[in-house]
């Protein structure tokens, strides 16, 4: 062929440089088929619906968009959505590590059962979870009553005579369900499996020799955990965090039961979108959904960049 190998490709010691190509030589063919399928699939399922959303939002006049986007109710709903998702994902990171650690490191009766329970939030209809959680955490529920007005916690707090004046006057009275706290609890529930399932395999592969090496060098347990174990888990933790966060931002079913959905207090953005739709304000719904998508996309992108950095830094695990 006329335009065959040129330049560096003539050097037999660098056959791989023969030219830039989409495909690495492989014994399994099928680049065209699989790539085509991927594009088609992503288009039908993800890209076209999202593009439609943005088209719909774009038909709205700009002042209208700005007005919807900056209305206090929208801003508050976005704040509640992203704020509680962030808190829930962070809580899941901390407790996810502990759960994964227990499942990997210790052999105890019922370990397999516990392992299976971790996946339950995936399988349970989220509405069921929401109803169960709100029943439990309502002021009259099993857990909620512990924290409610004149409940056991309140009694204990006011029985403490050693507390300085002022502190004991502070009324210890938490309402969990029907407040933003309830939202966080629901989001923790649905995000739990992500961190556990991403950290678990990394912990399983973790060489215990590294801990032993740190110990022989004089490091105490805390130093070993912070400077040897956690850095190795970082890439997996970031993945788990991103997944739990993304899932929480999009959650609807469980939150609506426990949140109370009070505008400007415990109303999440997805609920606001549904309300807009029920009011036949499709443009408003599209605008809020578009803003959510952009924020979520930017945040996931940032997490991915941190992750790429961590993988380079801490080695691919």
């Amino acid at each position: 062929m006329a335009g065959a190998p040129r330049g560096a490709s003539r050097n037999p010691s660098h056959p791989a440089r023969a030219g830039w190509s989409f495909v690495k030589p492989s014994v399994i063919p099928g680049f065209g088929l699989t790539f085509g399928y991927t594009i088609l699939y992503l288009s039908l399922i993800v890209l076209i619906p999202i593009a439609g959303l943005f088209l719909k939002a774009a038909t709205t006049p700009l002042e209208q968009i700005i007005k919807i986007a900056t209305s206090p109710r929208t801003l508050k709903a976005l704040e509640v959505s992203f704020g509680s998702s962030l808190i829930a994902a962070l809580v899941n990171v901390v407790f996810g590590i502990i759960v994964a650690w227990v499942l990997v490191r210790y052999k105890f009766p019922g370990r397999r059962l516990l392992d299976a329970i971790v996946d339950l939030p995936f399988a349970l209809p989220t509405a069921v979870a929401g109803i169960a959680l709100s029943t439990l955490y309502a002021p009259k529920g099993w857990v909620g009553s512990l924290f409610s007005d004149k409940g056991p916690l309140w009694q204990w707090w006011h029985g403490q005579t050693w507390l300085p004046f002022g502190l004991s006057e502070f009324s210890l009275n938490f309402k969990i369900a029907y407040t933003p706290t309830g939202i966080v609890i629901a989001l923790i529930f649905i995000g739990l499996p992500f961190v556990v399932r991403t950290v678990q395999p990394v912990l399983e592969e973790f060489e215990q020799e590294l801990e032993e090496a740190a110990a022989t060098l004089g490091a105490n347990r805390w130093q070993t955990i912070t400077s040897v174990i956690l850095p190795r888990l970082t890439p997996a933790l970031l993945t788990g965090f991103a997944l739990a966060f993304a899932r929480a931002v999009g959650e609807y079913g469980s939150v609506i039961f426990i949140a109370g959905n009070l505008p400007n207090i415990s109303e999440i953005a997805p609920v606001l979108i549904v309300i807009k739709l029920e009011e036949f304000d499709q443009a408003g719904a599209a605008v809020i959904a578009g803003i959510m998508l952009v924020i979520a996309f930017v945040m996931l992108l940032v997490i991915n960049l941190i992750q790429a950095w961590a993988r380079r830094r801490f080695g691919n695990v």
Partner: protein
């Protein structure tokens, strides 16, 4: 630092990995624990380090009872077969880790830590690589970093668990020589575990041969090679040939014929004769071991001949120079120059 292992026993779920082992390690000595896998050599090393606690018995560092101390308190340098480097840290951070984690009262200032780490990097001949990460180094370089890291804490004893096991033959030989140099220069009491007898014979001041949770023999490499005290040591260290013999009238007999070797003591009965295949002399006449050549192949500079003696199906191997005329014969008579006789168990 002397180390004394005093009747130490270690059981893993009722299976004894070490059976009342006692051992004295002298200060500044380079000592090898040698044995097949499952002999308890790594367990003994980990017990000295404090990574395992003995079921019974005690371990002394000098006069001080170390058995109840934790790993952190024992101040030992440990080098693992798989390096166990921290891959989230640069080479320099790996080496200075042991100094950085010290409590503030005993931690040297930052500049001092850096200076010492750089000095060690120089000692292990890796100057200029301090900013690399472990995964950017070759296996041999990684193991040298691991050694520098262990030396940084000025350990009372240096323990190495099959340090060259994961390296290829060429690098292994190089590092072996180099470890000897480092040891001679720094003078740390050093214990290393290996299953490679060549490594142990070349490197160690003394060998500890272990088998099935027990120490079989302790001695200099020459001692252990020339005067093995059990059939196990004889066949485990170096090449060996063995055959059943009968001891009677202060002589060794095979198939009713005296073979010209005197019995070592007054014991009589069935026994096993052990000798080195290369340590034999061919004889033309007189009492000797005579056998039919069953197979013969050249191995480098020698010819290894398998003989069938007295119709015994277990062949006996001897080594001849590859160009020796006897290699062409069908029948060879020989006498071992050095040998040992162990009564049959």
């Amino acid at each position: 630092m002397d180390i004394r292992v005093d009747t130490v026993r270690k059981e893993f779920s009722h299976y004894p990995a070490l059976n009342d082992v006692s051992l004295d390690i002298r200060s500044s000595e380079l000592i090898a624990l040698l044995g097949p896998s499952g002999s308890g050599k790594t367990t003994l090393l980990r017990l000295i380090a404090g990574l395992e606690m003995p079921t019974a018995g005690r371990i002394f560092f000098g006069d001080e009872d170390a058995s109840s101390k934790t790993v952190q308190e024992r101040n030992v340098g440990f080098v693992f077969q798989a390096y166990a480097l921290f891959r989230n840290m640069t080479v320099l951070d790996n080496i200075s880790f042991g100094l950085k984690v010290r409590p503030r009262s005993t931690r040297p200032p930052k500049a001092e830590i850096r200076r010492r780490a750089m000095e060690l990097l120089d000692l292990v001949q890796l100057s200029g690589l301090e900013k690399r990460f472990p995964q950017q180094l070759s296996g041999g370089q990684r193991q040298r970093v691991a050694l520098a890291r262990a030396l940084a804490i000025e350990p009372r004893v240096l323990l190495l668990d099959e340090p060259f096991g994961a390296l290829d033959a060429q690098v292994r030989k190089e590092l072996r020589k180099w470890l000897r140099e480092i040891h001679d220069r720094t003078g740390h009491t050093t214990v290393f575990v290996t299953h490679d007898q060549e490594e142990a014979l070349e490197l160690a001041d003394r060998l500890v041969v272990m088998s099935q949770g027990k120490i079989e023999q302790v001695g200099t490499p020459d001692d252990v090679y020339d005067r093995p005290n059990s059939p196990f040591v004889f066949s485990f260290i170096g090449e060996s040939s063995s055959m059943p013999v009968t001891v009677e009238n202060h002589e060794l007999w095979v198939g009713g014929r005296a073979i010209g070797l005197p019995a070592p003591n007054d014991a009589v009965g069935e026994a096993n004769l052990f000798f080195r295949p290369h340590d034999v002399e061919l004889v033309e006449d007189g009492a000797a071991l005579a056998g039919v050549v069953a197979a013969s192949r050249r191995v480098g500079g020698t010819r290894r001949v398998e003989l069938e003696i007295g119709g015994n199906p277990n062949r006996v191997e001897i080594d001849l120079p590859f160009d020796h005329p006897a290699g062409e014969k069908t029948r060879i008579a020989f006498r071992p120059k050095r040998w040992r006789v162990f009564p049959q168990a």
